[in-house]
């Protein structure tokens, strides 16, 4: 018996070893890393793209900060980040950035007797709640926004992300735009010094904690709200209209964003104008080297992005993402041709 196990182990080991190879990473194997937000749609795109073209693109979610560090260190072909890099940093590291996909961030609440979408909130009130100045659900500020609802006097249990996150960056950016108080005392970043509340790991953790806690409020990407069937709130947008979270209202935010005049596509699409615009939208940018060492890999990556902009729209929609509007895609492709060059020629040769 012992002998049998031993020879079985040896056989398995040899079979495994024989499949292993140590070879240089091939150009056909592209790698990217960064934002967690974009990971699911990249995974889906990459799967379809590999089936269609045979080119495998391995994208891994190691966080936006990780993506930036890796692309600077040239360990990956491209990085992806939820927080845009500043013009100076892009210049210093020889990078270009462009938006890849957009989405919406949704406040979720747990209030007995209130149905999904019944509650209306605005940026100032949410800032007050997250500052700790509004502490119960029947506060005058919330009542004023919801004249038709009978609100309980339940204490508000604030839930935020415990891990650093691009979602937190966009959420706090929105609060900073709406509340000077928030901007002064807290500010916006992937992690901030939260005045009140409890941190939960990941959006799934936030969703779960809100679900468990009576009077809870949190913020998650739209996909988590729909998949978990959570009670979300409507928002009062910059135009003073009440909007519900939906792909259409996120799309409105994307379309109303002014990418034309922004250098390096550095527009954070929170609190954008427009009657139907959802106020807390977010985008993910791709970072790639201007003068790539491996021009072939960068060229393949750009081809993949071009394919995703054009043929990946349906996929994105199914996963609750918003595609980049066509006029912005044209701007992006122009920037590729102008900026990303090897041996004096543009790396991207497509249309």
């Amino acid at each position: 018996m012992r002998h049998f196990i031993r020879s079985a182990v040896v056989a398995i080991a040899m079979a495994t070893a024989s499949t292993l190879t140590v070879s240089a990473a091939m150009a056909a194997d592209l790698s990217g890393a960064g934002s967690t937000f974009i990971y699911p749609v990249f995974a889906k795109w990459a799967d379809t793209y590999k089936k269609d073209t045979g080119v495998g693109l391995n994208y891994q979610s190691i966080g936006s900060g990780g993506g930036i560090k890796q692309v600077i260190a040239k360990t990956v072909t491209f990085g992806a980040t939820d927080k845009p890099m500043s013009d100076a940093d892009l210049e210093k590291n020889g990078l270009v950035q462009f938006p890849m996909v957009m989405g919406g961030i949704v406040p979720i609440v747990n209030l007995t007797g209130i149905k999904p979408g019944e509650l209306v909130l605005d940026g100032k009130t949410i800032a007050g709640i997250y500052m700790g100045t509004i502490t119960s659900w029947d506060d005058a500020a919330i009542k004023a926004l919801n004249p038709g609802l009978t609100l309980p006097s339940t204490a508000i249990a604030v839930v935020h992300r415990s891990d650093g996150s691009g979602t937190t960056f966009n959420f706090t950016d929105y609060l900073s735009k709406l509340s000077p108080d928030w901007k002064d005392k807290v500010g916006s970043d992937t992690a901030v010094e939260w005045p009140v509340g409890v941190g939960a790991k990941g959006s799934e953790g936030v969703a779960n904690t809100v679900k468990q806690t009576d009077g809870g409020i949190g913020y998650v990407e739209y996909a988590y709200a729909t998949q978990n069937k959570l009670s979300y709130s409507k928002m009062l947008n910059a135009a003073g209209k009440v909007v519900a979270p939906s792909l259409e209202s996120f799309d409105a935010a994307a379309s109303n964003a002014d990418f034309q005049d922004a250098k390096n596509f550095n527009v954070i699409i929170t609190n954008e104008p427009g009657d139907t615009t959802w106020p807390i939208a977010a985008s993910t940018w791709v970072l790639i080297h201007k003068a790539p060492e491996d021009a072939a890999a960068t060229g393949e990556a750009l081809k993949f992005f071009a394919w995703a902009y054009k043929d990946g729209k349906e996929t994105a929609k199914k996963l609750d993402y918003v595609s980049i509007p066509d006029n912005v895609v044209d701007l992006i492709k122009t920037s590729w041709k102008a900026d990303i060059q090897a041996d004096g020629k543009p790396v991207y040769t497509g249309k």
């Binding site: 966080g63 900060g65 990780g66 650093g164 992690a191 010094e193 941190g199 790991k201 953790g205 904690t209």
Partner: protein
């Protein structure tokens, strides 16, 4: 000259050759083991150097205040390590206080009390606890254990100690489920198999003669355990506890899920807190600024120093016990 006398030098020389060969192979083996031991030193040296290099920016910016400040603000780039240091020490301490008696208890149960046919399966079951990946403890903690604590245990405890001075602030609400105590409990579960399996193994090494002579003079099972088995294996048990403590101090994934990552020091055990490794794991991947990253690496360096101090204290205590018992 007889034939036997003639053969003697040949025997002697072949014996000499053998001894020489033995000496040579022994020297090789000696050198090999020594090289491996030195490699362990080099490894830690390497890790320490890379940590030090990485944390230099933060340490030179904040100086000593990095250790005393409770502020952790990525927006204004003001960082202080006090809250994670506090959380690391408190969670590990609570975990060890819970896990050591239970772990040793299980080991005693397995070696002395348990019916023979059950020993293997139960021992295996406890070791299995060590085999569950830490991320599972985290997910289980977040989605199963924390909600359970939040809805049943915590309100109950808060209610009991409500009017008791001192204890009421130790168990103050609101019950979120995640926090200091939840992390400590999860850590205790994770550390348990380390302590148990090492303790059980060292208990097995106690010579039967020793135990039998103690039984022979009429000792009870407890007395044998207390006065023969535990003293004989003290160093080994300590090794198991150290392994457990090491894991508790450095455990990343499980704690990350259930601690809440709040850079605040609050008296209540139910409040969210943070530990060094949880902070690194939660924030490192998303940290963009150089000073932010450097501060996170500096936290790692501090954990090294904390471990160093705790181990030094443990060794010192052990030496004092040895001196007192004259062993």
């Amino acid at each position: 000259m007889s034939a036997a006398q003639e053969a003697l030098p040949a025997v002697r020389s072949s014996r000499e050759a053998t001894v020489k060969r033995f000496a040579f192979t022994d020297a090789v083996f000696h050198a090999l083991t020594r090289a491996a031991a030195i490699l362990v030193l080099v490894l830690l040296g390497g890790v320490a150097v890379s940590l030090f290099a990485g944390s230099w920016q933060a340490l030179s910016t904040f100086g000593f205040s990095f250790l005393t400040s409770e502020s952790w603000n990525p927006v204004t780039e003001k960082f202080g390590a006090l809250a994670p240091i506090y959380g690391t020490i408190v969670t590990s301490a609570i975990a060890i206080v819970i896990a050591v008696p239970i772990g040793i208890g299980i080991a005693i149960f397995l070696t002395e009390l348990c019916p023979r046919p059950l020993r293997r399966p139960i021992g295996m079951a406890v070791e299995l606890l060590a085999g569950i990946p830490s991320i599972i403890y985290g997910i289980w903690g977040l989605f199963v254990f924390a909600p359970f604590l939040q809805t049943t245990v915590q309100p109950f405890v808060i209610g009991i100690f409500h009017g008791v001075p001192g204890l009421n602030s130790l168990f103050a609400g609101p019950p979120y489920g995640i926090g200091l105590l939840t992390s400590s409990l999860i850590l205790a579960i994770m550390v348990l198999p380390f302590i148990t399996s090492i303790t059980k193994d060292v208990f097995d090494t106690v010579p039967a003669v020793l135990k039998e002579s103690a039984y022979g003079i009429g000792c009870t099972t407890w007395e044998v355990t207390r006065h023969v088995v535990i003293p004989y294996t003290r160093i080994g048990i300590m090794g198991g506890v150290m392994l457990g403590l090491g894991r508790a101090l450095g455990e990343t994934m499980a704690v990350t899920f259930v601690i809440g990552n709040a850079h605040r020091i609050s008296v209540s055990l139910f409040a969210p807190a943070t530990t060094i490794s949880a902070t690194i794991a939660n924030e490192f991947t998303e940290a963009v600024g150089d000073l932010y990253t450097s501060s996170l690496v500096a936290l790692g360096l501090i954990l090294f120093v904390i471990t160093f101090l705790i181990l030094a204290i443990a060794r010192y205590m052990l030496m004092r016990i040895d001196a007192r018992t004259g062993a």
